[in-house]
């Protein structure tokens, strides 16, 4: 029987949640026995090769590309999981949510104390994904099946949740494994 497939991505995140996944240490050997990785920075597969059992999404949506990738994940993953505080509540990128986008760009490219930008240009190439008006938690963009909060969620949290889902058990994590920091 073919192994179930898992896909992962980092949207507006810092890759810390992916690092935490690698923190499962030697259990990663068990994980590759249980699953194949599809689209993921872990194996550098860029596009989905088929339907996946589980999608792990790190980061919220800060730009249009994040939204497209997230919608693609929803389409290709039976179970979609928000991994980490950025995916579940926006996280540190959402600190900009009380400031207008224009003010953010001005601060980053024109007014900030360390800015060197003699031409006063705010990058606007069509290759660069457009920023959204604010940062959106994943569940405000697509339906999310499970949330694993934490900054990052601990390796044990990710491991326990994955193993439960892959062995058809309910995801009921012990007290120590649901944390917001």
């Amino acid at each position: 029987m073919a192994k179930p497939k898992v896909a992962t991505t980092s949207l507006a995140g810092c890759f810390g949640c992916h690092m935490s996944l690698l923190d499962i240490d030697d259990r990663i050997l068990k994980l590759v026995e249980l699953v194949d990785f599809d689209k993921s920075p872990i194996d550098d597969i860029k596009e989905f090769t088929g339907q996946c059992a589980i999608g792990l999404v790190e980061g919220g949506c800060a730009n249009e590309e994040n939204v497209r990738v997230l919608q693609d994940f929803r389409k290709h993953c039976d179970i979609l999981i928000s991994v980490g505080d950025c995916a579940t509540m926006g996280g540190l990128p959402a600190l900009r949510n009380t400031i207008t986008l224009e003010e953010c760009l001005n601060e980053a490219y024109l007014d900030g104390p360390t800015v060197y930008n003699p031409d006063g240009v705010i990058p606007n190439d069509k290759e660069i994904p457009l920023c959204l008006d604010r940062v959106y938690p994943c569940n405000e963009v697509v339906k999310i099946d499970y949330n694993l909060p934490g900054c990052p969620p601990s390796a044990d949290t990710l491991w326990e949740a994955l193993v439960a889902l892959l062995t058809d058990k309910p995801v009921s994590l012990p007290y120590e494994l649901i944390k917001y920091d």
Partner: protein, 235 residues
């Protein structure tokens, strides 16, 4: 005649002294009723409704309702858990709670309630309100992003410190914690040794230069749920 009152919480017989609230009697009996605005030593305020119990079929706040003979109190029901979760969810989304960078994390009562209730993420959309920080005082700052309007600081400053440094201004979604009619914190007579500085259940009133003094894993609620210290008396 005994001056003790007898009533039940979830079918368990509990004794209370005259004048005790349901919550005080429950605490002494080792039964935890979740609470947020209530704190022993402060006059009950009854604002957060996390402590809601069903008394003889009707919802009441356990922190303000005096115990009475023969009362039938329900506490740990599915319905009340849902109600309490909803309140905690709303408190999270109507403020800005970045626990990952909050000095109170691990010792925060709001966060601890969410952990105890097993909340992985609030069910409501985040509001991302625009709130201010007052860091003018040399030893203390207020971060209104995290304030849950529990009035503990208001009560402690007024009733324990005899100062009245804190008060609320505004109404509804615009209600916020203020100091002496919108002055800055440094213009008040708030002192680092005031009781009001220690009572905030969340990270809205913070002492400067403490930071993240206690490592993760050793903080108050890292391994033991809030309320377990009350329940331990029962074991």
């Amino acid at each position: 005649m005994s001056d003790k009152i007898t009533f039940t919480i979830d079918g368990v017989e509990v004794k209370a002294a005259k004048g005790q609230t349901i919550l005080q009697a429950a605490d002494e009996a080792g039964i935890y009723i979740p609470r947020l605005c209530n704190m022993s030593g402060l006059i009950p305020y009854g604002s957060c409704r996390v402590c809601t119990v069903i008394v003889n079929g009707r919802p009441q706040s356990a922190c303000t309702q005096p115990a009475a003979e023969g009362m039938i109190v329900e506490n740990e029901t599915e319905e009340l858990l849902t109600h309490r979760k909803n309140i905690v969810d709303m408190l999270f989304v109507e403020g800005n709670h970045y626990c990952m960078s909050c000095e109170k994390s691990g010792n925060c009562e709001l966060q601890a309630l969410a952990y105890r209730f097993g909340i992985a993420a609030p069910k409501y959309p985040y509001m991302f309100p625009n709130r201010s920080v007052d860091a003018t005082h040399p030893d203390i700052f207020i971060d209104r992003n995290r304030c849950i309007l529990c009035a503990r600081c208001v009560r402690a400053s007024r009733d324990l410190d005899g100062k009245g440094v804190f008060e609320f201004v505004g109404r509804g979604p615009n209600k916020s914690i203020a100091v002496n009619a919108n002055a800055r914190l440094k213009d008040t007579n708030l002192d680092i040794t005031d009781k009001a500085v220690d009572v905030c259940p969340v990270g809205a009133i913070i002492k400067k230069r403490v930071g993240f003094a206690v490592p993760i894993g050793q903080r108050k609620y890292d391994t033991k749920p809030i309320g377990s210290e009350i329940e331990a008396q029962n074991k």
